[in-house]
């Protein structure tokens, strides 16, 4: 097996050999490796197939910008993870990874055929090809695209790992632990500011930490040695927290940032167990220093995507940090000085290399060094083509013309097994723009730079466009002193020697004799878009960068175009003949690198996913086989199936029992608002449509609450407990909103009212007993209470004690039956319920759930706000004009009740519906029409509530129908998929119109 690990470094522990599997084969690496460095050490460059053309692709970079080396980790159904960048994944014992986007395997890939039919796959291919016929989309195109796209597999079982969230507050957050980040963190922390420094790598130091060129020195030491010293120093600072393996995912407004900390991803399999895998940090920082550095740009030339073609600086890092060479015969292709550093490093380790430089000539310390070492340099040359299928084996270069627009002279063929590209540097401005910052364009080296516009955020170092070390350190120190308003002198005497020439010859799309249409000059490696695609999009009329991006899919892959956006912009600018700075850029959106769902969700999984509210009686319901329904956050018993009953049978039995003898409902979830104050009556007058001033103490009244637009908002019964004390009930789902709304009016419109609102929903439990035998059951529970209609009539309230515990008893009814609601302090709720059940045994007291409650109230035509109303129903629409006071001068929504729209006679109005076939149950939501033959069919309304009534032995329904009030007796049709159902409009009250049962 070839070994490309050619020297020892302090970052690779050669005493700790690590075995791992890649595409099913076992390899070895060392602790300290990433998957990418270990693969390269084993001579493996080919790691995948490209998205569209299925071309072989290799590792390109050494960090977050990696477009090709994307793998699937693990094979277990619950633990597998797609889209992991091999360049960021630390190697651990037992790691199993496989290349994505190739089938059946990376070396023989069926989709590779696309490469040969590529003239058929131009920009916008998906839009153009898969448009027609429509029916093909679902059956043909989508499965085809999905099969060949192959962007990894999602786990199919729940994630067994533990994730965590943490909230923190800091004075200063520093993003990035390179030279400038370390300096900023030290300055802040030494000035007594509580500081957090985060870096996505395993160790601090950025790219300077493995820098070993003699021409770059700080205080007479190698820059890497100097920096190690600095790192030792900052580790001693007590108010500095350092988090490595932690990457900022999102930078939101008000300096609120999300960071992902990797805790176990680098550990051997057995050590991962029972530990938190990743932690999401939610950071609030008073000030943020962005020191995220820059990434090297590729160059755009024909066949620039073969395995073995990497970024020049990545070749350097693999060599000096991991001890791995990417080849034995390397060519570096550059338009600037930084490739020379790589060249010199390679040369020193004995790796043969030559340089192809776009510039006509250049001179710098580094170039001089290279020349002295005898490294061959081709100035004013351009790579025009590369060769080799699974890995590069040679390339062609040609001389550039004077203006750089074309090539001249003869082709020179050079053999190589690796090509390094250096197109200069792109400052990582993602964090700055995510925070809302704008960008400036610097023409001289064609970079976007952060525009300083905020007093609580700053960019320093190479992400601010400062590339040489002296500039980085000096500027960082000055800016941080100013930014934090401090006067730190630590670096005043620091002596920096470095290569300073930033001379660069920028050509976005390199010239070639071959017509562009026949070249493959890749811009976006991950989404396989080429210079040709961009030009085609422009030819077809696209101008905005956002449109070109979507049309060609450039920059839209999981790497968000970290390597490709600048070239796309550059080529657009060149082609359109405009200045690059005027084009703007695409928007960088969070997350910076993909996040796992686990990290986002944290501990809020399973039963912690959402808050669940349970009544005091909940346990009893569970013990008695209740099926539950979610109402808001509440778990409410839906029905109580007995002996294998289905829902329909259970509801029919419960409904019948409630009317024949007695039923009991857990009504604890209804919203309860305690209203006190000398103006409480006036307040109720203003918030309900009916009058409240004359409600006697000890009496209850039903109220309808509107929005200011006149639409029904909530309803419920309110009880006057004493002169200045009321207890309001609201719908279960509306409780919180009603309280907020009432507070709004009290605090903002009527602050002069002496009224206090307190939510007491959770303070009281409520058992509601209804049916002809309910009085007898009440009598057993409260033997001293006079239950006669004279003493305790319908819509009144009494206080009594149950075994010495205070109870509030309301005689109110939502079923139309004689009915009592017993309220007790919540801690006694379960006991109250059990005592009711015990007392009711001899009367077949039947517990019923929400479904039966809905059925019983529908028999009586009582509305449910939110089911029979939808925010567009006025009281009049509901045929409830009786509850709207004509005398009151004002109440919320009154004025809206006679707007031109609300007095229209053809509004949808609540009606009853009876099916011609009494056994036919309508579907809630079904449309209602009068004529099925007209086209288009005129929709008159829809069914809002529908049940089979066991007490009437027929189907009943409520519906809203246009001009419904005037349609009583009229025949209408409910068209369903297979049949038309004939119905007759009826009254909304189906049972006991005379309300005899209330006093039965």
């Amino acid at each position: 097996m070839p070994n490309y690990r050619i020297h020892k470094t302090e970052y690779i522990d050669e005493t700790k050999r690590v075995s791992f599997k890649y595409d099913g084969k076992t390899y070895f690496g060392y602790e300290g490796d990433t998957l990418a460095s270990a693969l390269l050490a084993n001579g493996i460059h080919l790691v995948g197939r490209s998205f569209k053309y299925h071309r072989p692709r290799g590792i390109v970079s050494c960090g977050a910008e990696e477009p090709n080396a994307i793998c699937q980790i693990g094979s277990k159904k619950d633990l597998t993870e797609p889209n992991v960048r091999a360049t960021e994944l630390e190697l651990y014992e037992g790691l199993e990874a496989s290349s994505q986007n190739c089938w059946p395997n990376v070396k023989f890939d069926i989709g590779g055929i696309n490469n040969f039919i590529s003239p058929l796959i131009p920009a916008g291919f998906y839009y153009k090809t898969f448009m027609w016929p429509k029916s093909f989309w679902k059956k043909v195109y989508e499965p085809l695209i999905r099969l060949s796209a192959g962007l990894g597999k999602s786990p199919t079982e729940p994630d067994p790992d533990i994730y965590d969230h943490k909230y923190v507050h800091y004075d200063v957050l520093v993003i990035g632990g390179g030279v400038s980040g370390i300096i900023a963190a030290k300055m802040a922390a030494k000035n007594n500011l509580k500081t957090l420094l985060v870096d996505d790598k395993k160790i601090l130091g950025g790219s300077t930490i493995y820098q070993n060129n003699e021409s770059i020195k700080i205080d007479d030491k190698l820059s890497s040695e100097w920096l190690k010293n600095e790192i030792q120093e900052i580790k001693k600072l007590s108010n500095l927290t350092i988090k490595t393996r932690t990457s900022i995912a999102a930078y939101h407004g008000y300096n609120f940032l999300l960071a992902k900390e990797n805790l176990t991803d680098h550990l051997p399999k057995e050590k991962k167990k029972n530990k938190i895998r990743q932690r999401l940090w939610k950071i609030r920082a008073k000030k943020v220093v962005i020191a995220t550095g820059s990434i090297e740009r590729p160059l755009v030339f024909n066949n620039n995507d073969r395995p073995g073609i990497l970024l020049s600086n990545s070749i350097n890092k693999y060599l000096d940090y991991y001890g791995v060479t990417c080849g034995e015969n390397i060519i570096l292709f550059t338009n600037n000085n930084s490739a020379y550093e790589t060249s010199i490093s390679l040369h020193k380790k004995g790796i043969k290399n030559i340089i192809v430089d776009l510039r006509k000539s250049a001179s710098s310390e580094l170039i001089k060094q290279a020349e002295i070492l005898g490294i061959k340099i081709y100035f004013n040359h351009v790579v025009t083509n590369t060769f080799g299928y699974r890995k590069i084996n040679s390339l062609e270069i040609m001389k550039l013309s004077e203006d750089g627009n074309t090539t001249v002279g003869n082709k020179i063929r050079l053999n190589c097994d690796c090509l390094g590209m250096s197109g200069g540097w792109t400052p990582m401005v993602h964090m700055h723009t995510q925070s809302g910052g704008k960008l400036d364009f610097r023409d001289e080296d064609q970079v976007f730079l952060p525009k300083e516009n905020s007093e609580d955020q700053i960019s320093v170092g190479s992400c601010n466009g400062d590339f040489d070390l002296e500039n980085i350190i000096d500027k960082t120190v000055n800016k941080i002193n100013k930014f934090l308003d401090i006067d730190n002198q630590d670096y005043q005497d620091t002596n920096i020697i470095c290569s300073k020439e930033n001379d660069k010859r920028n050509i976005w799309l390199l010239p070639n004799k071959i017509p562009l249409g026949k070249t493959k000059c890749f811009i976006d490696f991950q989404n396989d878009s080429t210079a040709k695609d961009i030009k085609l999009a422009l030819k077809e009329g696209f101008r905005s960068i956002e449109h070109v991006k979507r049309y060609t899919t450039t920059g839209m892959a999981t790497d968000q175009g970290k390597l490709s956006n600048m070239h796309a912009l550059g080529i657009i600018a060149d082609t359109a003949g405009v200045k690059m700075g005027t084009l703007g850029t695409t928007t960088f959106r969070p997350p910076f690198t993909p996040l796992t769902f686990g990290t986002l969700v944290g501990r809020n999984v399973g039963k912690f996913f959402e808050v669940v509210r349970k009544t005091s009686m909940h346990e009893w319901h569970v013990e008695n086989n209740a099926e539950f329904e979610n109402v808001g956050q509440w778990k409410r018993p839906w029905y109580y199936p007995k002996n294998g009953e289905n829902m329909h049978d259970a509801v029919q039995r419960e409904s019948k029992a409630a009317r024949d003898s007695a039923g009991i409902l857990d009504a604890s979830t209804l919203g309860k608002i305690d209203i006190q104050g000398t103006d409480a009556s006036e307040f109720l007058n203003r918030v309900y449509t009916n009058a409240w001033s004359k409600l006697a103490i000890g009496k209850c009244r039903y109220g309808l609450m509107l929005n200011e637009d006149g639409m029904v908002y909530d309803d419920g019964v309110t009880t006057r407990i004493s002169e200045n004390h009321y207890l309001m009930t609201t719908t279960t789902g509306g409780a919180a909103n009603v309280l907020t709304k009432l507070e709004d009016y009290l605090q903002t419109e009527w602050p002069e009212l002496d009224v206090y609102l307190t939510s007491v929903t959770d303070h009281y439990s409520t058992a509601s007993i209804c049916g002809p035998n309910s009085k007898k059951i009440l009598n057993k529970l409260f033997p001293n209470l006079d239950l006669s209609d004279e003493n305790f009539p319908h819509m009144s309230f009494k206080e009594d004690k149950l075994k010495n515990i205070d109870c509030r008893i309301m005689r109110i009814s939502f079923t139309g039956e004689l009915s009592y609601e017993i309220n007790i302090e919540s801690k006694y709720g379960n006991s109250l319920w059990k005592m009711c059940i015990e007392a009711g045994k001899e009367f077949n007291l039947t517990p019923y759930g929400t479904e039966t409650m809905h059925l019983l109230r529908a028999e009586k035509g009582f509305i449910i706000v939110g089911q029979d109303t939808d925010g567009t129903m006025t009281p009049s629409d509901l045929q409830m004009d009786w509850i709207v006071s004509k005398k009151k001068y004002d109440f919320i929504g009154k004025r809206s009740l006679y707007r031109s729209d609300t007095i229209r006679e053809d509004r949808k109005q609540l009606v009853g519906l009876l099916t011609d076939d009494p056994k036919e149950i309508l579907e809630e939501g079904a449309q209602i029409v009068s004529d099925v033959k007209s086209k288009p069919i005129d929709m008159l309304g829809h069914v809002t509530s529908s049940y089979f009534s066991p007490n009437l032995n027929k189907s009943i329904a409520l519906a809203v129908v246009r001009s419904g009030k005037t349609m009583k007796g009229q025949k209408l049709i409910i068209p369903m998929e297979n049949k038309n159902i004939n119905v007759t409009v009826s009254d909304t009250i189906f049972l006991d119109k005379e309300n005899k049962r209330l006093n039965a």
Binding site: E708, T748, R895
Partner: protein, 93 residues
């Protein structure tokens, strides 16, 4: 995610608050005297400014108090916070 300085509780995360739209829209004292158009003006019409906007916020998961906020909607900076009933700061007109 805003940090909002509740005049009663101090600085809290935005998730504790709910927004109540434009501030200083007073409910007419005599709605019945208004024409449809005048009532619609109160009921529906909002300025929705890009720039400095006066808004109502409610510390719904805190003290439950409503209060006013001056916010620049173009950059989300909150410039001032003041209690209900207090006069809006004049320097942001």
């Amino acid at each position: 995610m805003f940090l909002i300085n509740c005049p009663f509780c101090g600085e809290r995360d935005q998730s504790e608050f709910s927004s109540g739209g434009e501030a200083h829209i007073v409910r007419p004292k005599q709605p019945t005297e208004l024409s449809d158009d005048e009532w619609a003006e109160y009921l529906f019409m909002r300025k929705n400014i890009k720039g400095i906007q006066f808004e109502r916020w409610n510390h719904v998961h805190g003290c439950r108090k409503w209060f006013n906020v001056v916010r620049d909607t173009s950059n989300d900076k909150i410039l001032s916070v003041y209690k209900m009933g207090e006069k809006p700061p004049v320097n942001y007109k």
